[in-house]
Symmetry: C2
Amino acid sequence: MAAPREPLTRDRIIDTALHIVDGQGLSRLTMRRLGDALEVEAMAIYHHLPRGKEELLDGLIAHVAALPAAPVRPDDERSAAGDWRSQLREWGAAYRARLLDHAGVLPLLVTRRNPAALAATTASLRDVLRRAGFLDAAAAAGAHTLLGYVIGHTALEARAQAARRADDPDEDIDWDLRFGTGLNVVLAGLLTLP
Amino acid sequence: MAAPREPLTRDRIIDTALHIVDGQGLSRLTMRRLGDALEVEAMAIYHHLPRGKEELLDGLIAHVAALPAAPVRPDDERSAAGDWRSQLREWGAAYRARLLDHAGVLPLLVTRRNPAALAATTASLRDVLRRAGFLDAAAAAGAHTLLGYVIGHTALEARAQAARRADDPDEDIDWDLRFGTGLNVVLAGLLTLP
DNA sequence: ACCTGAACACCGTTCAAGT
DNA sequence: ACCTGAACACCGTTCAAGT
């Protein structure tokens, strides 16, 4: 008797696709290979993702990029004024780690596809800054500055790690330190906003 | 008599490819279409770019991303101390404009391909900061912070512009202003570096 | 040296058909 | 409702052949 196959699901499809991207790279993600990994014909995927590969890539972005900055408790009394800096430092470290874990998805984040995928994260950053006392306009601009830095700097890091090989060890950068330094620069600069 | 065809050249190939990407998007850049645009069979391209499409994309990145921050004159006496800020503001505006002009190449900048393409730009930024009086370590970190911000924020902008349509005018962001605000945040924060 | 033609092993996707 | 098989219009690339 055949093993009772797990039913095909949108979530399971996207999880499996992410696994392929993480393990073999974005260019190896094909509908046929994804079908193989799901033990199904490639065409079955279209039943759950009618827009095909476009929808699959949109799903990958949404899965990786939606990491909010604010903790679940929206009005934590214990968070002293000024604590927003360490909260954003923690968020930045977590977001960077997530992007590096799924570095194959990074190029998709810079495409015009699924532009809404970062809306929740941006809104969350804006809220943190607003609660810290920033005016609306400053909070909105600060959120974009922060997110832009984190995504861009992490992209530079991912690129540089590809160049690091035995015959080119002259550039020996501590990326943990460098990311933290830059994040502190941005956080310090936010204080100059009106 | 047939028109004397312009000889095929590495530069002409990459220029034509960039034209296709700018006009039709990265996904429409195929070796066959590129051959058509060059009035040549696609296979002729391989004679000038032996590594094929990989080398073509590497060339696109190098062509778009290598915009130095320092002017040609490396030791301009007239540049007063403190003028480095406006110099970096000008560079940032120019770099952003270039990335937006070739937004289709942006995803390639976040891939692991051609990791050396940003080396010249990074070195140039480091030099500007060093001449402004920053210590070596601070100049290196500051260069990455700046470049990361500019690339990341511009990527956010390119994404957002894809979402802007008639039925979604609630988010009406002045991106020129927003980019400048964030750049000023980063520049102000650099002053906190040792 | 430079380009072509034909061929190979792949793609994403449609569509009628099965259960 | 959910999946399959065959087919279509494409890809990137190799390789022998032309000039």
